[in-house]
């Protein structure tokens, strides 16, 4: 399987982009602290010409956000949080879905009650579902503060739980199809135990589909993170900072982790005045989703090729 | 032998898969006289279906006709314009396919499927079209209520009858039946083949019957072409061919089919024959390097008329026979 994958150009392209993004982001702050905040730009006669946020033309390559922090550096540095969370949660969702469907192999497949129950998740978009679970988390943390690490873990658990029901349904559907195949029936005619059949025959058949589901889940979580950013729900929670000059002090939630959806959410008010602060991180979301889609299409070629063999 | 309705001359067809080029049909000559049933028999991969599909230009995209001609009413079908070919399809020559289950559009009612074919050719009012469609349904032995049913509500045999009704709606002079009964039960099979045969007799039409079942050939064919590896290896009228098959492949095919007879002797398979007889009339049978698994054949060969109206493929050079 893996050997075939490495021959797929699309898969390699997507895989390369994701890996290089991660690699740069992980190594970045250990080698380069990043440019200092630039709050004001001065004309040569010393008067202030512009106030942050600065457009990409003012400060290449991506300009700065409201606090004058360089967007380019922030995005590269934040990449690791966003991508790792997306890939990590996707992996958690898959593992738990596999365990659940294997544990309940008998009942889940033809248990229409469970399938219909999961139907209800159709009508609540994942963003609302996640928002509903995370807001109480933030409220609770205002009374007794939760550490950054613990907050991220709880959030990841929430993101995982949301995806499990529908994944279990698709999964038990696939297992059901495989179980009807002739070579499963012929193994049963040898008296093989269910566990043996799952390990030796169902798993190898479903492996390519596993990679496919993993990639699709990662894309879904990326989009979910972007949405949560806009709803000012930040990974790792937020702390309130006083903003503005002396006249009007407003408490604002400032994301701790610099991941992409945090950047978007933090300066969402400036969407009309400084759109690049939002559009450039969204562009990076696009790049990562596009590369994962490339990996998916590479995988799909292999699955269809194996089927034809 | 009446005047030929359709003549295929030295037809070559090949497939282009990525870089490799696979020849599917090599120099096939075939004549279909008026009012006769010509059967082409061969196993999967022998090129029999490809030959029939090239007549109506229904080859898949990856196939290309390299050379040869298909003469029909003094027109070369390979050179005919798209417009004219569309006219010929369905009214002069039409076709019935093997996989009845998937050959009917599931989203259309039977009545629509049949009248649709009529609209293209005849200027009939809606009412006339409906009565014509009902006549066709009765002709193929289906009751009127089938007119309003969906294909998914019909059995395999009924679907094949609808396909035949559609094919015969234009009263074609040649009906190509590509393994029409392979996916049907034996009790239904004879009814479908009788249906096609009656059409031939009533309309003095010709039938090109593509099959792999010698029983069907024996019951319905007037002339037989045996194809193997894209070439015709033996051809002749059905009585001589059954009485005196010559090419080892034909003999092997006939003998490898179990027949209901008292003798309990062991079935002979094709490979038993190929090694016993090597030549005929001082020439070696082609394709000589024959093996069931990889079907390898090369070296020039030709169809030789070993007895009146009985052709066998032999190698061109006449070097001494013997292994």
């Amino acid at each position: 399987m893996i050997k075939q994958l490495l021959k797929q150009p699309q898969f390699l392209l997507g895989f390369f982009i994701i890996i290089s993004l991660l690699f740069v982001s992980l190594g970045l702050n250990s080698i380069y602290e990043g440019p200092k905040e630039v709050k004001f730009l001065y004309k040569n006669d010393g008067s202030i010409s512009k106030v942050a946020p600065f457009s990409p033309t003012d400060i290449p390559p991506f300009g700065t956000d409201r606090d004058g922090r360089d967007l380019f550096y922030m995005i590269l540095d934040g990449a690791k949080y966003t991508l790792l969370i997306a890939l990590g949660v996707a992996f958690l969702r898959l593992v738990s879905a596999v365990l659940i469907s294997f544990l309940y192999k008998g009942q889940l497949k033809n248990n229409t009650f469970f399938n219909d129950l999961v139907q209800s998740t159709l009508y609540v978009p994942a963003t609302i579902f996640a928002y509903m679970l995370m807001i109480p988390l933030f409220i609770k943390s205002t009374t007794d503060p939760i550490s950054f690490g613990k907050m991220v873990i709880i959030q990841c658990i929430i993101l995982t739980l949301i995806g499990i029901p529908s994944l279990v349904v698709t999964f038990s559907g696939d297992i059901k199809n495989i179980m009807n195949k002739d070579y499963i029936i012929s193994t049963m005619s040898l008296g093989a135990k269910k566990k043996y059949i799952y390990r030796k025959h169902v798993l190898p058949e479903i492996k390519p589909k596993l990679f496919l589901l993993f990639a699709q889940q990662a894309v879904q979580i990326l989009i979910l993170l972007a949405h949560l950013g806009v709803l000012a729900v930040f990974v790792g929670g937020s702390q309130t900072e006083m903003r503005g000059d002396f006249l009007n002090l407003t408490a604002e939630n400032v994301p701790i982790a610099g991941e992409w959806s945090g950047i978007i959410g933090h300066s969402f008010q400036e969407v009309l005045t400084a759109p690049w602060i939002i559009l450039i991180p969204l562009g990076f979301f696009f790049v990562s989703i596009f590369s994962i889609n490339m990996m998916i299409s590479g995988l799909q070629n292999i699955i269809s090729k194996n089927k034809r063999k | 032998m009446s005047a030929p309705l359709l003549e295929i001359k030295d037809l070559h067809v090949s497939f282009h898969e990525k870089k490799s080029k696979i020849t599917a049909v090599q120099g096939v000559d075939l004549t279909i006289p008026k009012g006769e049933t010509v059967a082409v028999i061969g196993e999967s991969g022998s090129g029999k279906s490809i030959t029939s599909l090239s007549i109506l230009g229904l080859l898949p995209l990856s196939a290309s006709i390299d050379s040869g001609a298909i003469l029909f009413k003094d027109k070369n079908l390979l050179k005919v314009s798209n417009k004219e070919m569309q006219y010929i399809r369905g009214s002069e020559i039409s076709m019935v396919f093997q996989d009845a289950q998937a050959s009917l559009n599931p989203a259309m009612k039977v009545g629509v499927l049949i009248t649709e074919g009529l609209k293209a050719r005849k200027k009939l009012t809606r009412h006339e079209q409906r009565s014509e469609a009902l006549r066709l349904l009765r002709m193929v032995g289906l009751k009127n209520h089938v007119y309003d049913q969906f294909p998914s509500q019909l059995s395999g045999g009924m679907k094949q009858r609808v396909l035949i009704a559609m094919a015969l709606s234009g009263e074609p002079s040649l009906l190509i039946a590509d393994e029409p009964t392979t996916s049907l039960d034996v009790t239904v099979q004879s009814q479908i083949l009788d249906l096609i045969n009656n059409y031939k007799i009533e309309n003095d039409a010709s039938i090109l019957l593509i099959t792999h079942d010698f029983g069907v050939v024996a019951e319905y064919a007037d002339r037989v072409y045996v194809m193997f590896g894209g070439k015709v290896v033996e051809a002749g009228d059905v009585y001589t061919l059954f009485r005196n098959p010559i090419h080892p492949y034909t003999k092997g095919l006939i003998s490898s089919i179990p027949k209901i007879s008292d003798t309990e002797e062991r079935l002979k398979s094709v490979s038993d024959f190929v090694f016993e007889e090597v030549g005929y009339v001082g020439r070696r049978f082609a394709p000589e390097t024959y093996s069931i698994e990889n079907k390898v054949y090369d070296a020039p060969s030709e169809l030789v008329e070993v007895e009146p109206d009985h052709y066998v493929r032999l190698f061109v050079e006449k070097e001494a026979v013997g292994r």
Partner: protein, 309 residues
Amino acid sequence: MSSIIQLHNLSKYFSVGGELHKAVDGITLDIQKGETLGIVGESGSGKTTLGRTLMRLYKPDQGQIFFEGKEITHLPEDKIRPLRKEFQMVFQNPSDSLSPHYNVGEILEEPLLIQDLLTPSERTNKAYEMLEKVGLPKTSYHKRLHEFSGGQRQRIGIARALVLNPKLLIADEPVSALDVSVQAQVLNLLKDLQKEMNLTCVFISHDLNVVHYMSDRVAVLYLGHLLEVAPKKELYTNPIHPYTKSLLSSIPIHDPELRNHSRKQIVLPEKSINPPHLVDVGNGHLVAADVINITTFDTQKEKQDISIG
């Protein structure tokens, strides 16, 4: 001759789109040791379901199954496991009934592994021995399924079914997916192996010619009911049930001189509500009672009057 398998009005029902489809309905049958019983029937006659229910691949809904005198109808899975090696099946489509994920060696050794017989090295020798028995080169051991033609794959299927030295071999349409020239070789192979390993065979097919070549006794199935059972010669020369007659008359005869286009209308009997009761009309010929008028029936006299349709 003692019987190896006895069935007492065995039934198997499937629920298709809400209503009950009686695939196999009330079949009583005896299979003698060493004989080949042909089961002939058209599509939808339930012949495949009968084959699989008889092997306890499907759970029977009614009736009993006796294997060598012992009832195995409702034997729990772990009790029947050791018995499974006594009856094995050859499937219709070799490409579906053998796993594409393992090489031929593993496929042939799997039955021994599941039944946990022989040591690993003995298993490999047994695999090579089986390959040789079915006429495949030793090199096929390491090859995968897609490197073989249809006929060779069916030989692997046969080798796998016989690697456990079963007493009963059930062949479910073993040659209908193969080309005519290859068919003859596989049929001859089955006949030779049956003699060599003194197997009892159940040969399921829709092709009356193939059934005639392979069987000693033939049972005719129609829509889940057993209509007629008789020794081969008796059934083919002296069919009593109208359905059997129409089946036999619709077989094309391989001789152009004997064309009889004036064939009688095909008789497809109504599906009777309850399974027919079989009556022995002499020399092992059983036929559904409702077809013959029992009162006036006298074995000898009746035979002269019934001639081929």
